[in-house]
């Protein structure tokens, strides 16, 4: 491996000279890393849609998709090809530029957030100091895709859906933000790597269980998932803000939403479930990334489980939950954590 690397370096230096080669090399190497990050995420997203239909199918004593390939294994590809080959409709009176910007603005932040997720101590695309704040900041951009699609499609279903959806997203972002504070208090750093390393002795879920519950429920609400999928309450608002979208522009909303769901699960495992740390030291022979995958996979399953179990919330109940229950509890817990940290040096 080192020989190969040496060979590439030498050839490159000879070809492009010492001025350009390091630049080109960084560029190419970063691109390779990005592709190695994005491709698994995309595959995970497409198989998560299959998993969703399968899991909910079995929970409702159905089979779920089982025709495309063995056990429906090719279903995501069939869906993707179908979406890709459909006609892209532009509704009458739509604001075209914004109409097509909206799906892109849903997918791009959803992918951007993955840059700072550490899959193991070494496996991280961009190891920045403000990791968790970066995720929170980028996730807050996601609301524009929703607002812009609703406004530009010139349909009242979409408009109403986007208003509701945006209202819901910003409400839960508040409690989501506050649940991160105790985690940061315990680690004293915004970097996700430090946050995991601070959990060597005890996973954050033990002192911060209520925060974890609030984080997860807010995550479900933030990604507009059932039982908080009011924006797309099909009985009243058809499909919500993306009612008028078709073909791949619809597909981008879909991809963005599922990428966000998976991200919520990964982030939850990193912040509360010890990330790549094994539950007991004895099991440390299993690589960290497997542990992370197991934990995130479990949370992803819970996402689906919730969807199959709970009826949809009403809008006033949803606002009440976010503002009147989650907000005070999380603020109180921030304070309790700080007091505990001050009195005992650790919680």
């Amino acid at each position: 491996m080192t020989e190969l690397n040496q060979l590439i370096q030498n050839q490159g230096l000879a070809l492009l000279g010492p001025q350009w080669w390091p630049l080109v090399w960084t560029l190419v190497w970063t691109l390779i890393k990005i592709i190695l990050l994005i491709t698994p995420v995309m595959i995970l997203v497409s198989y998560y849609t299959l998993a969703e239909r399968k899991v909910i199918g079995y929970m409702q004593v159905r089979y779920g998709p089982n025709r495309a390939g063995f056990w429906g294994i090719l279903q995501p590809f069939a869906d993707a090809i179908k979406l890709f080959c459909k006609e892209t409709l532009i509704p009458q009176g739509a604001k075209r530029a914004v109409f097509f910007l909206a799906p892109a603005l849903t997918l791009v932040p959803a992918l951007l957030m993955w840059a700072v997720i550490p899959f193991s101590p070494e496996l991280i695309l961009a190891d920045i100091n403000v990791g968790i704040l970066y995720v929170l900041a980028i996730s807050s951009i996601g609301v524009y895709g929703v607002l812009m699609s609703g406004w530009s499609s010139n349909s009242r279903f979409a408009f109403l859906g986007s208003m509701r959806s945006a209202g819901q997203m910003i409400s839960y972002e508040v409690s989501l933000g506050f649940t991160l504070i105790p985690v940061i208090l315990l680690s004293g750093s915004l970097s996700l790597k430090d946050i995991v390393n601070a959990q060597q002795d005890m996973w954050n879920i033990i002192p911060l269980l209520p925060m974890f519950v609030i984080y997860f429920i807010s995550g479900v609400a933030e990604t507009n998932r059932s039982p908080f999928d009011l924006p797309e309450a099909e009985a009243e608002l058809v499909a919500g803000y993306f009612t008028d979208y078709s073909a791949m522009s619809f597909g981008l909303f879909f991809l963005g939403e599922y990428a966000n769901m998976i991200l919520v699960c990964f982030l939850g495992s990193l912040m509360f479930l010890g990330g790549w740390l094994p539950p007991i030291g004895l099991l440390s022979f299993i690589p960290g990334i497997v542990w992370l995958a197991i934990k995130a996979g479990f949370l992803m399953f819970v996402f689906l489980w919730i969807r199959a179990t709970f009826p949809r919330y009403r809008y006033d109940q949803l606002m009440r939950l976010g503002w009147k229950i989650f907000l005070p509890i999380s603020l109180t817990w921030v304070f309790l954590t700080a007091v505990g940290l001050h009195l005992f040096g650790k919680v």
Binding site: I34, E87, R156, I181, R320
Partner: protein, 118 residues
């Protein structure tokens, strides 16, 4: 430090390119057979009666102001949480004071029914 942000910049470019290629590709591949009824705005089959933009619901406005305020509050909490081990008791007390003041505001909006939706 900047070199850590370079991948993010590149990822931004790649993500944008992915989105554009996917949409443009689908637009080119897909059929283009639209007619007035097909592209008409979705309204369960009859012609829309009024304009799309509905009267302004002031609640959403209020909601977003509340969001701005609480977002700023969270913004103050982040550096506090990071530096907490250094600033110790002083930090604890002053953040308590800060939150107490905002608690008054929170109690006020709760009492006024600004958090109620019907």
């Amino acid at each position: 430090m900047l070199e850590n942000y370079f991948p993010i910049l590149l990822l931004l470019a790649v993500a944008l390119a992915t989105a554009v290629v996917m949409m443009a590709g689908s637009f080119l591949v897909g059929p283009k057979r639209n007619y007035a009824e097909k592209v008409a705005q979705y309204e369960c089959g009859f012609a829309p009666l009024s304009r799309v933009r509905l009267p302004f619901d002031v609640r959403f406005y209020l909601l977003s102001i509340l969001f701005v305020v609480f977002d700023i509050e969270a913004a103050f909490l982040f550096p506090w949480a990071v530096a907490f081990k250094d600033i110790g008791l002083t930090g604890l007390v002053e953040m308590l004071l800060f939150l107490m003041v905002l608690l008054v505001g929170y109690a006020y909006i709760w009492k006024k029914g600004a958090l109620e939706w019907e």
